[in-house]
Symmetry: none
């Protein structure tokens, strides 16, 4: 069994490689995303262990990149980014499991076994909708190349809708995109954001409309 380990903390990587070795698993190790892409092109791995914060970018961006090449290798994300919201993000990007640091080697092994019992699927990442271009990493929006500045929460709602434009986005998904665990919500705050966002999108001539799907969620359509 061979896996790919993408991790930039040398000490952890070495410990992991050693521990995996004792379980009869050969690990290729790289610290850079660019190398990882190349390695997956040349090799077939049974699984991939992926750190999020890497010297040359966000580890999660590797997932759609890999899926686009048609590979459905199971991926377990290993990271200190362990807020529920981040875990959801990772899983919905197509990761098969998500493990917060620090963790016990034995737990990683157990999750690896669980994941290897089956096999996964594909996803993508990138956002243009109507006349808008959204950069979800830098949290910016432009309409016909003109910057549009939105309140933070509205922007998060917008990005979540645009990411799945022409498809319904569950209400709960939107709530998860905007609020974390501690921020409980007791009112129709989300509805209020949608309402205000709609007005702004019309004013800016964004070329999209937000429709409601009763009992399910919302849907962004281009006009």
């Amino acid at each position: 069994m061979r896996i790919l380990l993408i991790e930039d903390e040398r000490e952890l990587a070495e410990a992991l490689s050693a521990a995996l070795g004792k379980h009869g698993i050969v690990a290729d190790h790289t610290m850079h995303l660019a190398d990882a892409v190349e390695l997956t092109r040349q090799n077939i791995y049974d699984a991939i262990l992926l750190d999020r914060r890497l010297p040359d970018g966000e580890g999660l961006s590797f997932i759609p990149e890999l899926r686009r090449t048609g590979k459905d290798t199971p991926i377990i994300v290993l990271t200190a980014h362990n807020e529920p919201k981040e875990r959801i993000e990772g899983l919905d990007l197509g990761a098969d499991d998500y493990l917060g640091k620090p963790f016990l080697i034995e737990e990683l092994m157990a999750r690896l076994r669980a994941v290897l019992r089956r096999s996964p699927e594909l996803t993508e990442l990138k956002i243009t909708a109507g006349r808008m271009v959204i950069d979800p990493l830098h949290l910016s929006v432009t309409v016909d190349a003109v910057p549009l500045d939105l309140p933070r929460r509205e922007l998060l709602v917008l990005a979540a809708l645009a990411r799945r434009r022409e498809k319904t986005v569950l209400r709960s998904t939107l709530e998860a995109a905007v609020y974390n665990y501690e921020e409980e919500i007791q009112s129709n705050a989300l509805d209020a954001h949608i309402s205000r966002l709609r007005k702004r999108l019309i004013d800016a001539g964004a070329g999209v409309a937000i429709h409601n799907i009763r009992g399910v969620g919302y849907l962004m359509k281009e006009e």
Copy 2:
């Protein structure tokens, strides 16, 4: 989609059922392991959510019991026992994932999706019928790539029929797809859904027709 929820905290169970319902998932709920065994014998579930501490024993013991009957239904363990050692124990017993309480509903949904992605026999990621593509996990339907928004219940009926297109679906199967056994029904509500659904499918040019098999159920055919 139908899942089995084995959980003895009434309040949590109700909140979960409601949340799952909004995601188009019908949940049967029981508080006892003994009932759970019986229910899995009589029903086919797409996944099982399992609490550990239950009135009549340790929830984990249910896993080998279920596997012994040849079922490999995905199981997610929900529990306050969230020490690494306990998680390892659960995973190695054959659970597919392990989630500590308290958790965000949305994280559970994400993990559910991740787990279901790996079991192609039970749940196709996309269902194609006529000109339609149905994504039962995200509750969306498109006709020739144009989104079609349907009321939640009609969507569930449609998905159940499309999943077994060209084959007869028992009336009781359809009822099970839309209602759990707490939601009693006293009228021809299902017929009404079928009727309205037919109209919408014609309007949208979906390229399928729903036929009745008298005294048995319904059948979706491509045109």
